[in-house]
Symmetry: C2
Subunit: 102 residues, 2 copies
């Protein structure tokens, strides 16, 4: 079973981008320690101060599902709920043409 | 000057995802040959057949700008214009917490 690359885009309510980054940053260590978490990186977006992009890689679909169900992640999601302008957009990528699959 | 990671999301008009992939796939070799293009990878999105995500890395802001101005890219963009449901969303990522900057 090949790894899953995921790009998740989160948009905070106007002016609350720093709060969004802080909540996510506090969760990074716990998520990275999860089984099958191969990459879980936090990025801001140039000229979009209220947007955050998580670039993730999971060892399997099961690992990604376990992440979504994890209690700590549910707590983080609850914290995010009143911060976000819209639900997160989670895109599971399917490589069509990847030059050097890292 | 550090490299720039970019995630570009493109959405085709309903049912035209395959056409979108074909146009982009035809452009990959030319773009990858551009100065400063470190990564230019084409992905589809699971359960979103009309969406494509380009995961890109550019050696510098200048390299990304030159890409945008390149004649061949302008031609590709013109081809895409009548295929897309909305303008592409190009996000230049700014790392906040990246575990192992590849």
């Amino acid at each position: 079973m090949s790894a899953l690359d995921v790009v998740a885009t989160l948009e905070a309510q106007e002016g609350r981008g720093d709060e969004l980054v802080a909540v996510l940053q506090a969760s990074l260590a716990t998520v990275r320690a999860e089984d099958g978490c191969l990459r879980y990186d936090l990025h801001r977006v140039r000229r979009r101060p209220d947007e955050v992009v998580m670039v993730e890689r999971w060892a399997s679909v099961d690992a990604l599902k376990a992440h979504g169900a994890a209690e700590h992640f549910q707590r983080t999601s609850a914290q995010l709920a009143d911060l976000l302008a819209a639900p997160p957009v989670v895109r599971v990528l399917e490589a069509v043409d990847v030059a050097d699959p890292a």
